[in-house]
């Protein structure tokens, strides 16, 4: 199983919301970025699933709206 770390999550989120990695941290939330919408969310979750080999249930997808929540869920 791939290693789940903060850097990986930030890099995935950064790619899909088009914000530099340096501007995202563990406390970042979807509300902080206008491009982190439902389209970005679905792309973020799909890529996380792919990179971590962990399936995230669809009913949980919309709840993972911050870096911290994503990390906690994957732990």
């Amino acid at each position: 199983m791939s290693k789940i770390n903060l850097k990986l999550i930030i890099s995935i989120v950064s790619k899909h919301i088009k914000v530099a990695e340096k501007d995202i941290n563990i406390n970042s939330k979807s509300n902080d970025f206008y491009r982190w919408d439902s389209l970005a969310q679905v792309n973020i979750i799909l890529e996380i699933e792919k990179k971590t080999n962990k399936e995230i249930s669809t009913s949980k997808m919309s709840e993972l709206t911050s870096i911290k929540l994503i990390l906690n869920h994957l732990k």
């Binding site: 439902s38 249930s57 669809t58 009913s59 949980k60 919309s62």
Partner: protein, 442 residues
Amino acid sequence: MLFHNPVFLFLFLPIVLILYYYTYKLSKFAHEYILIIAGIFFYAWWNIYLSPIIIISIIFNFYFGNLIKNNSHKNFKKKILFFSIFLNILFLAIFKYTDFIIENINYIFNTNLDLLNLPFPLAMSFFTFQTIAYLVDCYDGNIKKTRFTQYSLFIIFFPQLIAGPIVKYNHMMSQFDNPNNRSINRKNLNLGLVIILIGLFKKIILADNLAIFVENGFSVSQNLQFFASWLTSLSFTFQIYFDFSGYVDMATGIALLFNIRLPINFNSPYKATSIINFWQKWHITLGNFLTNYIYFPWVKSLKKVNFLKIMIIIFFVFLIAGIWHGPSWLFVIFGALHGFGLITNHVFRKFFDYKINKYITCFLTFNYVNLTFIFFRSDNLTISLNIIKGMLGLNGFELSNYFDDKLYIVVILLIAIVVVFCFKNTSYLIDKFNQKIKKKIN
């Protein structure tokens, strides 16, 4: 029985509150029984003969939920999940859409089938979605043990039964099961009463007055000129917001009297800066349902995901959202226009890398939403097109004597505009109130 009915406010609600707070010593679960009986009574008040429908739905779906939870075979669970969802949608479709389907068959095939004129059970659209969410959560393992009374209470809790918000099982049960919530909390009581008053103001003073003007305007749409058309469409846009959000405020306030916090459903939607943003602020719990239980599963079911496919899915999700509001092609047009708006926003975000001034985007979004609500309100397409023609000035610009006895509506509309654009919303007030309490405690 509606929330602003004096029988509800001055008789039903006080009796239920007294029983709720003074019977908890009798049994650990007395509060559940009280609220379930109150819910059934509240529902039956509207039509006693249709109330068995919600009870049958509760019994069957509780059974399906248990079947899903207590089975370890994933394939079997999946089959039960799909079957139970299918049954729920079929149940909804029979009552809500049968005549709509017959009308369309008659139109297309030139037949003369009789309409069934089935009555539509109150709140069925809401409790069907809530039930589907429950079943999916059972399948995903988010819900462990459920007692029958817990599930019944989740569906029939009367403050949110008729007009939402669409709540999730775990959100509600954690509160119902909390023993601290069974004793009177004065702060919640005060806050709840204030929110009920805000809701009553929105509903009775603003929405109901605007409704008279709207009714008048839409009934003479062919005669409406520029100013009257704009005032009519704007009045409806504000009426629907104050009607719906006022009712949800009352639901939130009433639930708070029982120490139950309902999720936020409106967050200043007319201040939205895009249609994407609008659906993050308007009927939030419906948006969450569509996202969680239709949009995400649909996207995940694709073998290969790309931008075009997602846009097509978004469009279809909004067609579903449209038809969910009622059995009419005008609701489909409403959904399609919102789907189109969302796609336009996503395309812009993907291919254009600059931000437009937020006041301009807010103005554009509000006017687009205003346009879509014309279809939402009209009885037929001709009325919608008449009003749009009027708004474009194609029917003339005269003020005429149309406004002679309706000047008060301009005042109500101005109040509505000020309330929407200059004031904070109810959820902000609740948050602020909670922060103050926390500060005092610390």
